[in-house]
């Protein structure tokens, strides 16, 4: 028998906070699988009656000696669970049901939850307050990468656990039985009881590997350090219905196309290119970014003039507000395809644009697929026949093959020339950064490709229109905006370790002398570094902890200045 005492900095304390937050109605708190009832006194102090249900007879004796109403109950007997509990409650109003660290001990949790649903319904649907250990805590996850699964007498991997939960599994399972979450007060622990052995690089956040694994884990959900999920739920009245899901086969590709609906001919050109693809296994998410619904209606009408075999594959998404990344994120959320590609309404593609993406995805599943792209300058034209026209030949100026190192310096992959694997975007919660005024495509490409790598088709399949005059992002934003956005992208990439593709070390090695010389010999860089160090060591600085945010900004500014000095020399 394990005995755990109450503490505020524990799941028990977090449960009591939830009880207070929810302002439960007076009555009986039913504690299912109560152990030695660590919360009984806390609840009594708050005016609640208490009934503990436990299978361990020794624990029941101890609780009874403390004057706690504790009864024996076997939670594995699902068929009789509701009747037994209702009988024990004996008609008293139930303020809440507690179930602390119980679910992970139950061999058939779905059967148990079905029985608990019946019980809860018969008791008038009181709130359910639970704690469940997080088997996806960073310490557990990181040690799995070291092929370690260390069961212990207690803790995250208690050797009596038969079920293991992450946030998604817990939420899905409870939702499946009709419980809707109403509050949470998760208990975090860093390090956890699984933080061993000492000096294992995987679990130490300050090692490269540890930082890397932590970044990877943090990308998955917001519960990296949660030791126990502490949640409150209410049981919905109606039997949960499985949401209607589109059961039609997902297409290979989703094409996110952003438009304002203003460049009618350009949009028509782009749609015609898509309608003419040799591989029709794609959907189009036409995100109309305009406050006026007339523009969306225009787009809807335009699409409807195409053959139904194409028009049916185009969905109009009306997007209001936000910057230029907003429509892309809206489309990303709606995408059903295995891969996601992008086509702005002023770019063009060849007939094998989709086909080549598929070739790449089949050759190296999971990687970013990159095709080559050509450029053609365009300008506004005078005369009634056409609002714009090409002003130069089609040229291929960017390399056919993706180079990660070069791409950390500048982008050589226009948004119309790559496709991203949706499973990776979803699982790592990768999205466009809507705070960026420009280069949002470069940012997402780099943040995705660092995890996935890139497969090149080495075939030119897109034509990027460069606008000579007023239109186009290059002309709309001055170079300062581009500089600021670029620095923001690099800062973000530099915030943690990055993965580089195989074969990079030799290239880095061949350039190492150059990097060292640039950093060490430029007196302006050295001076800036020295001033920054003095700034950080100043006594007033160390005493003004609340102002440290300013220091972060100061460091960034100093680095930017240093980098600019280095670039210009």
């Amino acid at each position: 028998m394990k005995s755990f005492d109450f503490a505020w900095r524990s799941p028990y304390g977090h449960i009591i906070r939830l009880v207070e937050e929810l302002a439960l109605s007076p009555g009986l708190v039913l504690d299912i699988g109560c152990g030695t009832a660590p919360l009984a006194e806390q609840l009594a102090e708050r005016g609640y009656d208490y009934l503990g249900l436990e299978i361990d007879e020794e624990a029941i004796v101890l609780m009874t000696e403390r004057g706690i109403d504790a009864r024996w109950l076997d939670l594995r007997k699902h068929e009789t669970l509701a009747a037994e509990i209702v009988e024990l409650v004996a008609g008293r109003p139930v303020a809440a049901i507690l179930m602390l660290d119980v679910l992970e001990h139950i061999p058939a949790p779905n059967d148990f939850l079905a029985a608990l649903r019946t019980t809860t319904t018969q008791l008038g649907r009181p709130p359910l307050l639970m704690s469940v250990p997080n088997a996806t805590h960073i310490d557990v996850v990181a040690k799995l990468a070291a092929a370690r699964w260390d069961m212990r007498p207690s803790g995250l991997l208690d050797q009596t656990h038969v079920g293991f939960f992450g946030e998604a599994r817990l939420t899905d399972m409870l939702a499946g039985h009709g419980w809707r979450q109403i509050a949470q007060n998760d208990f975090s622990l860093d390090p956890s009881d699984q933080h061993f052995p000492a000096d294992l690089a995987h679990i130490e956040a300050q090692t490269n590997l540890g930082a890397f694994l932590r970044a990877l884990r943090e990308a998955a959900d917001d519960h990296t350090l949660v030791n126990q999920f502490v949640r409150a739920y209410v049981l919905l009245e109606t039997t949960p219905r499985t949401p209607e899901v589109d059961t039609s086969p997902a297409p290979f590709l989703s094409v996110a196309m952003r438009t304002t609906g203003d460049r009618e001919i350009a949009l028509l050109d782009a749609l015609t290119c898509l309608a003419a693809q040799t591989d029709p296994d794609f959907e189009v998410l036409l995100a109309v970014h305009h406050h006026d619904p007339v523009r969306a209606e225009f787009c809807r009408q335009l699409v409807s003039t195409f053959h139904p075999s194409f028009a049916f594959r185009v969905r109009i998404l009306e997007v209001v507000g936000g910057g230029r990344s907003r429509p892309l994120n809206v489309a990303l959320d709606e995408a059903r395809g295995r891969y996601l590609a992008f086509l702005d309404d002023d770019d063009l593609v060849t007939g094998d644009w989709v086909e080549q993406f598929r070739v790449g995805a089949e050759r190296r599943p999971g990687r970013v697929v990159r095709s080559a792209s050509a450029d053609q300058s365009h300008a506004v034209r005078t005369g009634p026949l056409m609002p714009y026209e090409p002003t130069g030949p089609v040229v291929v100026t960017r390399p056919l093959r993706f180079d990660a190192l070069t791409h950390y310096h500048h982008n050589e992959t226009p948004i119309c020339s790559f496709a991203l694997p949706m499973e990776t975007l979803r699982s790592l919660r990768l999205r466009f950064d809507e705070s960026l005024a420009v280069v949002e495509d470069w940012d997402l490409l780099m943040r995705t490709s660092t995890w996935t790598g890139v497969i090149d088709t080495e075939v030119v399949t897109s034509l990027y229109r460069r606008w000579d005059a007023v239109e186009g992002s290059l002309a709309q934003h001055d170079s300062q905006v581009w500089d600021v956005a670029r620095e923001a992208v690099l800062d973000r990439l530099d915030a943690g370790p990055v993965l580089l593709p195989a074969g990079t070390v030799r290239r880095l090695a061949s350039n190492a002398a150059h990097y060292r010389i640039e950093d060490a010999t430029d007196p302006r860089v050295a001076e800036l570094e020295a001033r920054l160090a003095a700034f950080e060591n100043a006594q007033w600085w160390r005493l003004t902890a609340p102002m440290r945010r300013v220091g972060t900004i100061g460091r960034r500014v100093a680095r930017r200045v240093a980098r600019r000095v280095a670039r210009r020399t």
Binding site: C273, A275, T278, T350, E389, V396, V459, L463
Partner: protein, 295 residues
Amino acid sequence: MAATVQIQTVLYNNAIGEIWRFMQAIKPMVDHARGEGLLGSAHLVVGDCSNAPRLGDADLGDLGRCAEGIELDYRFFGANLMFGRGHNTLAASATDEHLLVINPDTHAAPAMLSHLLCTAADPAIGIAEARQIPLEHPKSYDPWAGDTSWASGCCVLIRERVFRQVGGFDPDNFPLYCEDVDLSWRVRLAGFRVVYVPKATIFHDKRISNGGAIVVSDTERYHSTFGGLMLAHRYGRPDIHRQIAGWIAHHGEEPQRRALAEFMRRQNEGTAPDPLPGAERVAEFVNGEYALHRF
């Protein structure tokens, strides 16, 4: 009054998927033009130069349903008539006001035919040409009226009586390439205008080489060279002809050398045509092209 159009295309061993892609654009294009009140009856005539029929009964049934409301006429030629003779054969039985000559490796935008018909309502216009994407042809045109030196045979709307008046394409002298330049110049010689209609969009399945150029096959290289030699000869520019021949002799690749040899053979046998009187009024030879190019 709404116009009538015979839409005609010539197949040569095209993949069935490509034919489907072509067909899927036909009905929306016709529906759009009818919806605008520009088009009455429309006939689709498909001539097949392939080694064996590309379309069986089942295919024709499916394609007929795809182009519902448009009369579909499929003719297997049993021989490779090539582009010009194939289209002449299809046009011979046409009773419509216009011929829409269109390549099967295309996909027309829904409003394409409407734009061409609007422009062609002017009786002075003999040929109206669509704008190809993703690779737009660089030849220049009048930004206000659309007049241009010649129209690409990829997709043109030709007034049927004009086509008949000038004798259609000249497949003997231009079997596969430059037949559209030759036709355009003869139409202009006959006093009609040739205009470019940039809002009439058509996707033409051209691929881009890794160097940025359009991918060109040896067959295309042969026929474009032969056509260039023939144009210079027929339109009274022996100086241009000598330049091309001289360049091929020194730098030409194998298909281009074959083209020169074929032209020389015809000239020696006396089967090359005589130069056209008045050709200098319409023929444009600019930097090796048949029009001033915008870029």
